[in-house]
Symmetry: C2
Subunit: 347 residues, 2 copies
């Protein structure tokens, strides 16, 4: 645990700045006074791109490296061509800082609405690979815009990349009471990548005889997410399947207003980055309707990563308590929710 | 409309033969006596592979071409290495017969259980591309099984392939009352394939000014499937996203026991193939627990494709009526359900 936290903040686009403000408020409130919090805000996202054409200049990337961690709000705006900010900023950060564990816990809190009848008991965590797979940006198009166009997307998978994230997932499963790990892939169709994943999990599993290991095709996994989500404990999966599954996971556990994530480099070689799963939601930006809880829970993941276990737990307890008292009929503003959570953790 | 139907039947593995038997029973019952039904059964699947090592010999493929349509039960067995039958038989058929429209309607029938609270009004159809994308089998691995392994999967997308399925989807949307088409992709990450899809939809949309066109990232689409499925009418999407979304669609509309599909070659150059969305479910094979309704509804799609609109409607009405009377507490066998549906369509 550091004697202080040197945090990079990337508020980003849309509701990003609003939710990040509340995340920082709660972070400041929960930290003991002897822990010094320093923050540096980075102006990255749509408005920077419009102004300068830059997404993430190398100099900024260098400066970001010096921080203990990064808190990011949301990236993306309809005025920017699709992919420019996602590839040039968000994914660039995940790749440059080797965030190979994209950690996305899902828990259905009491009193939280779920679209599922019968309110199943949901408490699992998705360990999504963050630096490989279909996300590598390897592909292209030729005869673009003509009737003879061909466009490719290449999923790159390495034993190195798969094994390290699989090991991380086994460690997380070992630390949880249910001790269950489910690999999700599509190895009956994507046979080469699929077999690499399956063989890696089978091999590492021999070192963890206490952990029950399961395999599901991604299509079948979506079925179980809505019919039997209690069967999941730790899920390990590739970058794209993890993207899809974690949005669905968010939907069944109260919506993306609550879903937190960490882009983690477990080696500590680069700062890890914490962000809500939701996007920039430009349609509600500035209205005070955004729920900052996902960002606040991302701050808890950040604290856990930096070794502040007690503070992380205080935030999670505060969220649980706050959610227990929420009344869907009387929605609160972004700021009101942030204030309430800050007050709870300060106690 | 042909004066007879020359049908190829591939019962396949697991529950495949059981559900196909009921599908054929209903087909025989619904056809007017002047329509001659000829069937030829093809022994393809796990047991053939175990016996001969063959998945789909060229001679069988040639023979299959002569039929008006194909009815398939299910392919896949745990005793066969993952991918062998899927790639060597099921996908080989879809690719060889250029089944570029993989049609998967989803409707929540009255009295049918859904995991979703509030029983939303679900009635949409997914037009899944069937011959391109990540399913082409273009990829490989090197240094396989070593710590230096690299495995790739290449998604191939062509203007030719995308445009023809997009046009088919627009035609289907034009024929439906809601007149809405949603493209699902991930064009903020898979930018090359994504832009080809998006640009194609935008261009074709200009020919259909009455159709409301929408775009969703695949991750966001899974959210709306469980929170707001009534927003969908026709969905057009790539092969892999379509695979994932249609299992989720099946889950929210009563389960894969009800989900039908058609692998359609709209040009008629090759026979189209109809199959339930579910797999071979080896765990319940032989127990009489399999629900043949998905196969029966696939027979309805088959009839519609061959021009027997009235007969298709009779089957769909029979299923609706049968489902309305089902009582979850007293489950019926595969055969009992088939008998009940056959009796209803014969009336
Ligand atoms: C914005 C997008 C690039 C991103 C992703 O696909 O990873 C988002 O959906 C997420 O899940 O964090
Ligand atoms: C069995 C498998 C190859 C197949 C697919 O992925 O298309 C199945 O899941 C389906 O949806 O028909």
């Amino acid at each position: 645990m550091a004697s202080g936290i040197n945090l990079a903040v990337i508020p980003g686009d849309g509701i990003g700045p609003e939710v990040v403000a509340e995340g920082l408020k709660v972070l400041a409130a929960v930290l003991p006074s002897e822990v010094k919090l320093e923050t540096a805000t980075y102006d990255l996202g749509a408005s920077r791109w419009h102004r300068t054409g830059e997404t993430l200049p190398e100099a900024e990337l260098e400066r970001l490296k010096a921080h203990d961690a990064i808190l990011l709000g949301a990236i993306g705006d309809p005025t920017v061509p699709s992919g420019v900010l996602e590839r040039g900023l968000l994914l660039k950060l995940r790749f440059a800082f080797d965030h190979y564990v994209n950690l996305r816990p899902s828990r259905l809190f009491p009193n939280t609405p779920t679209p599922l009848a019968g309110r199943p008991d949901i408490d699992f965590v998705v360990v999504r690979e963050g630096t490989e797979g279909p996300y590598v940006g390897n592909g292209g198009s030729m005869r673009t815009g003509t009737p003879a166009e061909v466009a490719t997307e290449v999923s790159l998978n390495t034993a190195f990349g798969v094994e390290r994230v699989v090991r991380d997932a086994f460690e997380r499963a070992a630390a949880r009471p249910a001790k269950k790990l489910t690999l999700v892939h599509k190895n009956n169709v994507l046979v080469h990548a699929g077999h690499l994943w399956k063989n890696t999990v089978d091999r590492v599993a021999r070192e963890y005889p206490d952990i029950v290991v399961d395999y599901l095709h991604v299509d079948a996994a979506t079925i179980f997410f809505v019919t039997q989500p209690e069967r999941f404990d730790v899920i390990v999966t590739d970058n794209l399947f993890g993207d899809i599954l974690t949005d669905l996971a968010a939907a069944i556990t109260g919506g993306i207003g609550l879903a937190a994530s960490g882009n983690i480099n477990p080696t500590g070689a680069f700062p890890s980055m914490f962000e809500p799963v939701h996007g920039s939601a430009p349609d509600i930006a500035g209205t005070g309707k955004a729920d900052p809880t996902a960002t606040v829970l991302s701050v808890a993941l950040l604290l856990r990563h930096l070794g502040y276990q007690a503070e992380a737990a205080r935030i999670e307890d505060a969220v649980t308590a706050d959610l227990a008292e929420r009344d869907a009929a009387t929605p609160r503003t972004t700021e009101t929710i942030g204030d309430a959570l800050a007050a709870r953790v300060a106690n």
